[in-house]
């Protein structure tokens, strides 16, 4: 899997599976959530944005942890593909964090009465957004791709410290944002008809991420190995 040409060939088949399954599962989750689940007794139908908001939040954080792991592997074992994975994953993660912030704003206006509040969770998520931006900016300014990968690996490892802060921010501080619904030790505080579509949406989002990541990674491989013979063959076959 670490060898670029092998990965490229394997991923063409994986892409089809990922694409189809992500469309099916995400549509199922969104339909069940937005269409079928019961209205909230306090918020009415506004809460349905949770089926986009919460999975995006989970993705934004998980992708950063993924990048930190890849960064660690890249620094210690110098595996080229782990460096490329960081570059492929970063824009996706940043888009998800942007999605969280905007859907959160939209959700906040009717329920809290405000588009934004400087509480711990919102502020730390905003910081995550800045760290993503810094990472993408750093990678684009360094010309040598291998060096850029390593610089970004360092930044990802340092930046992962913000993730526990975000996750625990609703427990550590007095926030306007509600506490977590899913805990490791006790049952969720939502009714099953509401959180089952949510879990399906989370899985759907993960599949979407895997799909886009594979697409990005394939592009990245083609771009970096463009002088190699196998790339010329692939491009030659397609044109």
């Amino acid at each position: 899997m670490g060898s670029p040409p092998l990965f490229y060939r394997w991923s063409s088949k994986a892409l089809v599976w990922l694409g189809v399954s992500s469309i099916i599962i995400l549509s199922l989750g969104l339909f069940m959530g937005i269409g079928l689940s019961p209205a909230d007794y306090k918020q009415g139908d506004v809460y349905r944005i949770i089926y986009i908001h919460v999975p995006s939040a989970i993705m934004g954080e998980s992708i950063f942890i993924f990048m930190a792991l890849c960064g660690f592997i890249n620094i210690i074992w110098r595996a080229k593909i782990s460096g490329m994975l960081i570059k492929a994953a970063a824009p996706i993660g940043m888009s998800f964090v942007l999605l969280v912030l905007t859907t959160g704003s939209i959700w906040g206006k009717p329920t809290w009465g405000t588009w934004w509040v400087w509480d711990a969770r919102l502020t730390s998520t905003l910081i995550l957004f800045f760290i993503y931006a810094a990472l993408i900016g750093l990678h684009s300014t360094i010309e040598d791709k291998i060096k850029a990968d390593r610089a970004v690996s360092i930044l990802a490892i340092v930046g992962v410290a913000i993730i526990p802060v975000i996750k625990k921010s609703v427990d550590w501080w007095q926030t306007l944002h509600q506490p977590s619904t899913f805990k490791l030790t006790s049952a969720p505080s939502m009714s099953p008809e509401m959180y089952q579509p949510l879990l399906i949406c989370v899985i759907g989002f993960y599949l979407v991420f895997a799909f886009i990541l594979t697409l990005n990674l394939r592009n990245e491989i083609l771009e970096r190995e463009s002088s190699k013979k196998w790339v010329k063959e692939v491009i030659g076959n397609q044109s």
Partner: protein, 212 residues
């Protein structure tokens, strides 16, 4: 070590410039917000901290550039001492030169921003810990963007300096309210304790990037 101190003393610009920058930024706030005493007094901890943050960040921008260009940085890696100790010493000396004058300037800032006199000692303690942490972070940013634009280094480092900012302003704010602020100082000290080895090691990694 001694060499750095000598060079810095001879070129007075190294330690005067961050000082003047700090004072200029402090001046901008009353100009922009209006000179009303109550307003400035309530905002003073935040203003002083933001100015200190920016000044100490920009001061370390060029910490490695000259050494990189004239080859002194190579000797860091060849020498018998562990490189991260050398990096730490370099940052520490740099902070002594640029950060300590900042502490004096902050007393002036406290005066002109009508900060209550009793909280000045708390402010100085928080700034000592905070500006050193900022110098460390700034050194990491400088190493990552060695030879490239300074604003990139600032964008990388500033999100990580937010905890320092929060803790520092909390120290001064609790001092103003006559509450116990040692807890916050402990947290800042803890961040330094973990940060010094971690950031120095990461800075060495980052410097090595420019060598392959």
């Amino acid at each position: 070590m001694k060499r750095d101190l000598l060079i810095a003393f001879r070129r007075s610009a190294t330690y005067i410039t961050p000082l003047i920058f700090f004072l200029i930024v402090i001046t901008f706030f009353p100009l922009a917000l209006g000179p009303e005493q109550k307003l400035l007094s309530s905002l003073a901890p935040g203003i002083i901290w933001i100015a200190a943050l920016l000044a100490s960040l920009l001061a370390v921008e060029t910490i490695f550039n000259e050494d990189f260009r004239d080859g002194t940085l190579d000797s860091f890696f060849i020498s018998l001492e562990p490189t991260f100790i050398l990096v730490f010493v370099k940052v520490f000396i740099h902070w002594l030169i640029t950060g300590l004058p900042l502490l004096l300037a902050s007393c002036v800032a406290a005066l002109v921003l009508y900060l209550p006199f009793d909280s000045v000692s708390a402010m100085i303690l928080s700034l000592i810990l905070g500006t050193f942490f900022m110098s460390l972070l700034g050194a990491l940013g400088a190493a990552l963007s060695l030879g490239k634009s300074a604003i990139l280094s600032a964008v990388i480092v500033l999100p990580f300096s937010i905890p320092t900012l929060l803790m520092g302003t909390s120290v001064i704010a609790s001092a103003i309210n006559n509450q116990d602020y040692t807890g916050f100082l402990m947290i800042m000290g803890g961040m330094l304790a973990i940060g010094i080895p971690a950031i120095c090691l990461l800075t060495v990694e980052a410097l090595l990037l420019s060598y392959d």
